[in-house]
Structures are given as structure tokens and as C-alpha cells.
């Protein structure tokens, strides 16, 4: 971590001279989905470290609950505080349109980080997503296939029925299973939704096992779902017959990997999302980065970042796979 910060400090030194060194520091706020969500600690860490080296001011705020409108008072308050950058993990793809427009009208740079306003992209300036989401589906199918010998009945345990990211991935999974001959012996028998609640996800997982006795694998592309699914497998001692994988947090999955319940799962680095967002924001406000589709810029530790269609940026190309060998290297 220290090495990373030092490196970043050196690399950014040049940029700092050219940007606003005498003026007020740039104020960045990140509005999370809700407080107490371990996922955001890591993103916040990336923002904090970046701001330490770039000399910006950073604050993290979040409402108590992740309900669609609970972020609105927080956005209003940040506009009133006169921040320069609002980065947000939106709780709703469209309920925030009006208030975000208000922020943009005041000249605030609005970024969505770790989730986008799907279908309402004009209400923010750019989005920072962890990976190219078109690759998440195929990545997950390949991992599942490698665990079950590319053969047998599998199911998907997702978040809510309308979760936009999960639905993109599930569509890609279906596509991959159907069109890639490598997976012709894998059959997707069901897609169920645990609403990102541990209780409901557990019930759905148990129903899967009971409805489909021939099930050999479950993909849960959501951190709550994969932990619940693994818990069910662990408590019923089914690790040898039913393989669970998906997207999970190393901190929550460590035990399951160590006792063999889950052999491997995937995710990205939330830390890098904060790191990239802060560098992008400071660059855009300082004039060193142009927020245009097709533009490129360099970020320490991440290399060259390209601004893709709809002003979207990714911190890494493909998912990181965690297994017994590397799980202890990650502390988020």
C-alpha cells in the first residue's frame, strides 16, 4: 500500500504543478449506496489514497438505507456545500435525474462509480465501472465450466429481478452457453432471485437444490447471493457435488475458500475504482484530461485508460479470480 502511494505521488507530481496548486483544493465527495456496506470501504480507500497524493479533499457520505430516494438529501447538501465533484453509486437508475441535473447546472462534475444510470446516462458526466461488463458473463461461465468439467445442470442465483448489471451479465451468460460449442453440455435450468437479502437468497438456494436434484453448479453474480449459496452448501456438506461460484468479496468468502466449500470465485478491485475516479476528476477539472469519448489518459498503477462509449471507463479488462492460493493477498 505504501509503495503504491509513493509511486502514485511521484507519477502525479508533474501533473500537480500544472493543475491548481495555489487555488482551493478540489473537493470530491463520494456518496455510497448505504452506510455499513463493506464493499464501499475499499472504494473509499482508493479515493483517499489518490487524494492524499493529488492534494484534493475527499469525503464519504451515505444514507442509512439503500432505498431509491435516500441519496437525494445528500446530493442536495453536497451541492449546497459547493463541492467540485460528486461521485455516486446510484441507488436508482432514474429517481436521481432531477437532482443530478441540478448539480450539473451548478458546474459540478457528476460521476457514477461502481454502477451507472442505465438508460439515463445524460444525467451524469462520466461513469467509472470496474470491468468491461460485457466480459463478466463469459468469464463467469468459463470459471463455472472449469469447475464442473463443462458438463451438467447449472443455475443462476441473482440479486433483484431488475438489477441492471446482473441482468446484463445473465444475458451474456445465456448467450455464451447457447452459442459457444465449448459449453454445449452445460444446461442452465433456472435463474432465481434472492433480492440481495441473506435470508431470501438462502431460501432460493435451498429451493434450487430441492427442485433440481441433478444440479452440479450455481453461479451467483452478487456478493450477498454467493455467500448465502456457499453457506447452504457448507451446512449440507454438498461441496463435492454442487459447485458454487460467482462474484464475491474476499473478506466474506475467505472461510468458504479455505474449507473447500468454494474452490474459486471472481471480482474486481473496488479500490482501483476510487483511485481511477479521483485521478479522472482532478484531471478533468484541472484541464489535463478531456472528458470525450475516445480520449485516453494515464493513471499510475493502472496504465492507460480509454474513455469508451457513453463516457464509460474501466479499471481492469477482465475479472480477477480468487482461490485458495491468492485469497490471503487481498484485504477487502
Amino acid at each position: 500500500m505504501l509503495k503504491k502511494t509513493l509511486l502514485a505521488g511521484l507519477a502525479i507530481g508533474v501533473a500537480m504543478v500544472t493543475t491548481a496548486y495555489a487555488a482551493d483544493p478540489i473537493k470530491i465527495v463520494y456518496i455510497g449506496k448505504n452506510t455499513g456496506n463493506p464493499y464501499f470501504d475499499s472504494i473509499t480507500g482508493g479515493f483517499e489514497d489518490a487524494c492524499k497524493s493529488l492534494g484534493c479533499e475527499f469525503e464519504f457520505v451515505a444514507p442509512a438505507t439503500a432505498e431509491a430516494t435516500s441519496q437525494i438529501p445528500f446530493i442536495e447538501a453536497q451541492i449546497q456545500r459547493g463541492v467540485n465533484v460528486i461521485a455516486i453509486a446510484p441507488n436508482s437508475p432514474d429517481a436521481l435525474n432531477q437532482v443530478l441535473d441540478g448539480a450539473k447546472a451548478k458546474g459540478i462534475l457528476v460521476l457514477t462509480v461502481n454502477g451507472d444510470l442505465v438508460g439515463n446516462e445524460t444525467h451524469r458526466d462520466a461513469t467509472i465501472l470496474p470491468v468491461d461488463f460485457t466480459k463478466t458473463g463469459p468469464n463467469q461461465v468459463e470459471l463455472m465450466g472449469s469447475m464442473i468439467g463443462y458438463k451438467g445442470d447449472i443455475a443462476i442465483l441473482s440479486a433483484t429481478t431488475e438489477a441492471p448489471d446482473q441482468n446484463t451479465w445473465i444475458a451474456a451468460m445465456n448467450d455464451t452457453l447457447k452459442n459457444d460449442a465449448k459449453y454445449k453440455d452445460m444446461h442452465l435450468v433456472a435463474t432465481v432471485y434472492g433480492d440481495d437479502q441473506p435470508e431470501k437468497s438462502t431460501t432460493e438456494m435451498e429451493a434450487l437444490l430441492s427442485n433440481y436434484p441433478n444440479l452440479v453448479g450455481v453461479i451467483a453474480p452478487t456478493t450477498v447471493g454467493i455467500a448465502a449459496a456457499a453457506q447452504v452448501i457448507q451446512s449440507r456438506n454438498l461441496a463435492a457435488t454442487v459447485h458454487v461460484t460467482g462474484l464475491g468479496l474476499p473478506s466474506e468468502m475467505r472461510d468458504f475458500v479455505k474449507d473447500g466449500t468454494v474452490s474459486a470465485f471472481q471480482l474486481w478491485s473496488p479500490y482501483n475504482e476510487g483511485w481511477l475516479a479521483a485521478h479522472f476528476a482532478v484531471g478533468v477539472i484541472g484541464g489535463t484530461i478531456k472528458n470525450e469519448v475516445g480520449g485516453t489518459f494515464d493513471v499510475p498503477n493502472l496504465g492507460t485508460i480509454t474513455i469508451a462509449d457513453k463516457n464509460a471507463m474501466n479499471t481492469q479488462a477482465e475479472l480477477t479470480t480468487f482461490d485458495a492460493k491468492n485469497i490471503d493477498d487481498f484485504d477487502f
Binding site: V61, P63, A68, P73, A77, Q80, R81, D94, A95, Q98
Partner: protein, 329 residues
């Protein structure tokens, strides 16, 4: 004007001095807290004291505040309704669903309002005709109404037409329209409650329903009309929220019932009925908005806000009880 006068059912002790009647009442406490909150919030953050910002922040709670005015009357009549926030969600979902399906807008709005009326009627029938306690009926309908909203809309959000969006940004003499509606509603309901026979009957029902019925007050009819009013006003509030957000999802107004009850309680409405004023709820709505806005703009974490809300509720009810027990003698 004295709204807290109890009917003279027994021999009353000599009247208290006039200044005491005016000063020693729960609304005074709310007003004092409101002024204290304004000072506190200004000290907490230099960004707070800005009339435009405070009014804008009030629009975020204005819909709840409007319903809380009617809820105050329901509580004074000795009942309670915990379902209005769920009612807001279901009527807004029905409205949005209908207009998306091609129903003309005026008709879609009518559908939303009518749905609210029906929901109010269901509560009223179960409470009045079937005599099941309102607290438990409305906990049940709270779950049911929001559940139905979820069945209708799933967890998708439904967009509303562009021209319908932004009732909260329409300014009249610098005041957002929803805030103005709240102020006008407060005046109308305040007059109804404190100056009409209907209003006085509400207090009498809440103080002693059996006695009120013996005195010839049609308590069932009055209570039913309050539940119906509650239903329609909640539906209207739901549509206003839809206009503010530009989209409708089943979780619209989630948890709003707590905010509304909090407004009524903080304004000195007595939970067992018979006492309370619209003025109190009016002041309490501003108090709550200022407390939460002040803390949010000062980046006070929501944990502290939850604690402050909880303490405020308990302190206000202790104070209200104390004041009522003193003024009763």
C-alpha cells in the same frame, strides 16, 4: 381559538392565568425547539442558512408533511393510520402503470386518486365496521399495499411524462409549489379543526368516544370520513412524489409512516387522542426538516441522525405528557 379545551364534563377548577394558557402548551415547546434547531444548524455548518436551500430541502419532505396534517386529525380522533406511505406507493404505481399502458393522463391521475380513496375505505371499514384496532389493521394494510405495489411494478421504475415532472421546482413568489400546498393545507385544516363543529366533534370523539356518541355525535361517520380523507391525500402526495422524482418504484416513500407519526408527535398531538393541533404538526414538520437538513449539510453521519430522531421523539412525548398532565389540573 383554544383548541385544547376539553369539554366541560365535570366541575372545572378556577381558570388558569391567560398567559399560562397561551404559553404552557406543547406547540410552544415545538417552536422553541425549532428556533434552537435553526441556531444549532447555523453553527454546525456555514452552508446551512440559505432560505432557498431550506425551502428546497423542505420539498423533499413536503409530501409526508401534507399527509401528517391529516394524520394529526386521525390521531386526535383516537385512531392511527400507519399505511399512508404504502398507500402513496401503491397509488403512484397504479397511476404510472396506467399512463404507461396508454391511459390518458387525466384519467390515470383519477385512477391514482381513486385507488387512494379505496385504500382509505378499506382501512376505515376494518377499523369502524369490524372494530379491529387501527394500529394493527394499518400494520397489515401497510404490508399489503406496499406488497401490491411491488407486484404491479416489480422492482422496475416506471417513468412519467416529462411535462408531469418537477412540481417541486415550480416557484410561486419564490416558494416551491409543494411547500405552498403544505402551507395552504395547514391553514384550511387548522381552521376546520379549531373553528368548525366538525373539528370540535373530532376532539370529543378522541377524548371519550362513548360520551361523544351519547351526545349525538355520529362518531363512525366522522371517523370514516377521516380515513377516506387520509386515503385521498396520501394518493395525492404519492402523485406529487412521482412528479418530484420523475419515476415511480414500489419503494416510493418507504418508511414515511415513521416520519409522519414523528411530525404529529413532535407537534404535541396526544397519541391516545383528544389533543393536538395543526399548528403543532406544521411547526414540527419544519423542525424535522431543519434538524435533518442541518445535520446532512454538516456531513453528520446518518447514525447520529437516527439517534437524534429517536431521542427527539421520546423527549417530545415526555414533555407533551408532562404539559398535559399539568394543564389538566
Amino acid at each position: 381559538m383554544s383548541a385544547i379545551q376539553t369539554p366541560a364534563t365535570r366541575e372545572l377548577p378556577p381558570a388558569r392565568p391567560r398567559w399560562q394558557v397561551i404559553v404552557v402548551r406543547p406547540e410552544t415547546m415545538t417552536l422553541v425547539l425549532l428556533i434552537a434547531a435553526l441556531f444549532g444548524a447555523s453553527l454546525l455548518s456555514p452552508y446551512f442558512l440559505d432560505v432557498g436551500y431550506i425551502l428546497r430541502s423542505f420539498t423533499l419532505s413536503a409530501e409526508f408533511a401534507i399527509v401528517a396534517l391529516v394524520l394529526t386529525m386521525v390521531i386526535i380522533a383516537g385512531e392511527i393510520d400507519l399505511s399512508p406511505a404504502a398507500n402513496m406507493a401503491l397509488s403512484a404505481c397504479l397511476f404510472a402503470f396506467a399512463q404507461q399502458a396508454g391511459v390518458p393522463m387525466p384519467l390515470a391521475i383519477a385512477i391514482g386518486l381513486f385507488a387512494g380513496l379505496v385504500m382509505g375505505a378499506i382501512n376505515g371499514i376494518m377499523v369502524i365496521a369490524l372494530q379491529i384496532p387501527s394500529i394493527i389493521v394499518t400494520i397489515g394494510t401497510l404490508t399489503l399495499y406496499r406488497g401490491l405495489a411491488q407486484v404491479i411494478a416489480g422492482d422496475k421504475s416506471i417513468r412519467v411524462p416529462d411535462w408531469f415532472i418537477g412540481i417541486n421546482t415550480v416557484l410561486i413568489a419564490g416558494i416551491p409549489l409543494t411547500v405552498l400546498i403544505f402551507i395552504v393545507m395547514s391553514i384550511i385544516l387548522g381552521v376546520v379543526l379549531s373553528m368548525t363543529i366538525f373539528g370540535r366533534q373530532i376532539y370529543q370523539i378522541g377524548t371519550n368516544e362513548v360520551a361523544a356518541r351519547h351526545a349525538g355525535i355520529r362518531s363512525q361517520r366522522i371517523k370514516m370520513s377521516l380515513f377516506l380523507l387520509m386515503g385521498v391525500v396520501s394518493a395525492a402526495a404519492g402523485l406529487m412524489t412521482a412528479s418530484r422524482l420523475g419515476s415511480v418504484r414500489y419503494d416510493l416513500g418507504l418508511g414515511g409512516e415513521l416520519q409522519m407519526v414523528l411530525m404529529a408527535m413532535l407537534g404535541g398531538t396526544y397519541i391516545f387522542g383528544g389533543r393536538g393541533t395543526i399548528l403543532g404538526t406544521f411547526l414540527a414538520a419544519w423542525l424535522l426538516v431543519i434538524v435533518s437538513t442541518g445535520m446532512t449539510v454538516a456531513n453528520v453521519p446518518p447514525s447520529v441522525q437516527l439517534v437524534v430522531q429517536g431521542v427527539l421523539l421520546i423527549v417530545s412525548i415526555i414533555a407533551t405528557n408532562f404539559i398535559y398532565s399539568r394543564t389538566q389540573r
